[in-house]
């Protein structure tokens, strides 16, 4: 998890740095005394978590969180502050945690660990090259929602629309070795990242609905169990 730290007091920033750098699986991308610099960094959207003081000159931690919230950036926020008066805003902004100074190491570590627990999913990198007659289609693997085999063709449903191919599911399964892709059913490969709900279809299978599209896939009961046992 990539973290950014901002506190206008050097002693507080050093404390944050010392604690955060000791947590496994966490990398500090920036650590700054200036809220403006933090703002520039946030815009790049390279961090997963911002730990910020609230009361800072020119730009407050609350305003930083507000920017993240209004732009729907995928960045969690932990406030570390000496003032509890902002707690009300924290409710509205869906801040992950609100820690009062002075705080213990344990308190901050536990909070970050809770966040790590929730966001434990590997980002999918890489592209998939699809050979179509005389052209090659390139798509980002992370944009694939699910793949369905029907008849003699295969449809790949992506965030930007469906793509047809004649490659078989077995061939595609070989290309999509990432953990988040599972062969949920004889005729389907799904990206678990987009799964929203299941609904009972038959005794041993469920219909899968996804975030972002109306099309549905199937999953067997065993694969739901597999998902529960091996993921998260």
């Amino acid at each position: 998890m990539k973290v950014g730290l901002v506190d206008d007091r050097i002693i507080d920033l050093d404390k944050l740095k010392a604690i955060v750098s000791g947590i496994q699986g966490v990398e500090i991308v920036f650590s700054t005394l200036s809220a403006e610099e933090a703002y520039d960094q946030i815009k790049k959207e390279e961090i997963d978590l911002l730990i910020a003081d609230i009361e800072m000159p020119h730009l407050s931690g609350y305003e930083l969180a507000d920017i993240i919230h209004t732009h729907a950036l995928n960045i969690s926020v932990i406030f570390v502050t000496g003032n509890s008066g902002y707690a009300v805003h924290a409710f509205e902004l869906n801040v992950h945690d609100y820690i009062m100074k002075p705080y213990t190491r344990e308190r901050l570590v536990k909070s970050i660990e809770r966040l790590l627990e929730k966001t434990k999913s590997a980002e999918i990198h890489g592209r998939l090259y699809l050979k179509q007659k005389n052209e090659i289609h390139i798509l980002q693997k992370k944009d694939i929602i699910f793949i369905e085999r029907s008849g003699r063709s295969t449809t790949i449903y992506t965030k930007t629309g469906p793509i047809k191919t004649y490659q078989t599911l077995n061939e595609l399964e070989g290309e999509l070795r990432e953990r988040d892709f599972i062969r949920s059913h004889r005729s389907f490969i799904i990206n678990i990242h987009y799964v929203k709900n299941f609904s009972l279809y038959a005794k041993n299978s469920y219909i899968v609905t996804f975030d972002g599209i109306d099309e549905q896939a199937m999953i067997t009961k065993e694969k739901v169990e597999f998902l529960q046992e091996n993921y998260f």
């Binding site: 008066g85 929730k118 999913s121 990242h193 929203k196 009972l200 739901v224 169990e225 998260f232």
Partner: protein, 249 residues
């Protein structure tokens, strides 16, 4: 012959009467237990409602108090007053946000129980527990048993070490799975108990009068909904993770 026939019929009738009495008394027992549970829930529900009502009732008074302080230039005092007020609201807000009444009741009651014995309790709830595809009754059994076991473990730990114990309840959804995780401080758990935890009732670290039923109930609910339960004990920390598939009915 007729005599034996009558005796036999009478015998069968007696047996039938005895069996039906037995089943009625069993039913009575479960109904009484259920009734007791409902009573408890109603009390929790009423208590939460009372807290929310009193917060609302006092709202105007607080506003006018702050107004008065501000008008008289007592900014610092007003700020302090507001801080304390917010702290109180935060506590209630944690438990009632988006929840159905009875579930807010149990969450709030457990939170208060933990705070009274000074446990560092944190609810980290991404979406309402009420969204679990379980009946209210079962959500209450699940969460109630989880939290009360954790609170008891924390209390024992605090007694032994004279330090503050922690308890966190996390709830979030990933890939069509609801994930409920409860972590707490605990005194070492003997392997003989760990081995059978959540499988059998009757094994307990608690004193007389406890049947170790709570963990069995949790296990049964999870199983009924095709969920998955896993727990880890390490370095005086107990963590249980429950996954329940989001199945729409």
């Amino acid at each position: 012959m007729l005599y034996w026939g009558i005796i036999a019929i009478l015998g069968v009738l007696c047996l039938y009467a005895f069996l039906s009495r037995l089943s009625i008394s069993r039913k009575m027992k479960t109904l009484t237990e259920e009734n007791k549970r409902f009573e408890e829930q109603r009390a929790q529900f009423n208590e939460t409602f009372r807290v929310v009502r009193s917060e609302r009732h006092d709202f105007l008074k607080h506003v006018s108090a702050i107004h008065f302080m501000l008008e008289n230039g007592k900014n610092e005092e007003a700020k302090h007053y507001l801080d304390e007020l917010v702290e109180g609201y935060k506590e209630t807000n944690l438990s009632i946000k988006g929840e159905r009444g009875v579930i807010a009741g149990i969450l709030h009651q457990m939170y208060r129980k933990a705070r009274t014995v000074d446990i560092d309790i944190i609810y980290d709830i991404d979406l309402p527990l009420s969204s679990l595809p379980l009946s209210d009754q079962q959500i209450i059994s699940l969460v109630g048993n989880l939290l009360s076991n954790s609170i008891e473990a924390c209390e024992e730990w605090q007694k032994r070490y004279n330090k503050q114990a922690f308890l966190t309840l996390q709830f979030y959804k990933r890939s069509g799975l609801y994930i409920l995780q409860c972590k707490n401080s605990t005194l070492p758990i003997p392997p003989s108990i760990l081995d059978h935890l959540f499988i059998r009732s009757g094994k307990t670290t608690k004193g007389d009068g406890h049947e170790g039923l709570g963990t069995k109930i949790i296990h049964d609910i999870v199983e009924k909904y095709n969920g998955f339960l896993d727990f880890v004990y390490k370095d005086e920390e107990f963590s249980i993770k429950i996954k329940i598939p989001a199945i729409k009915i």
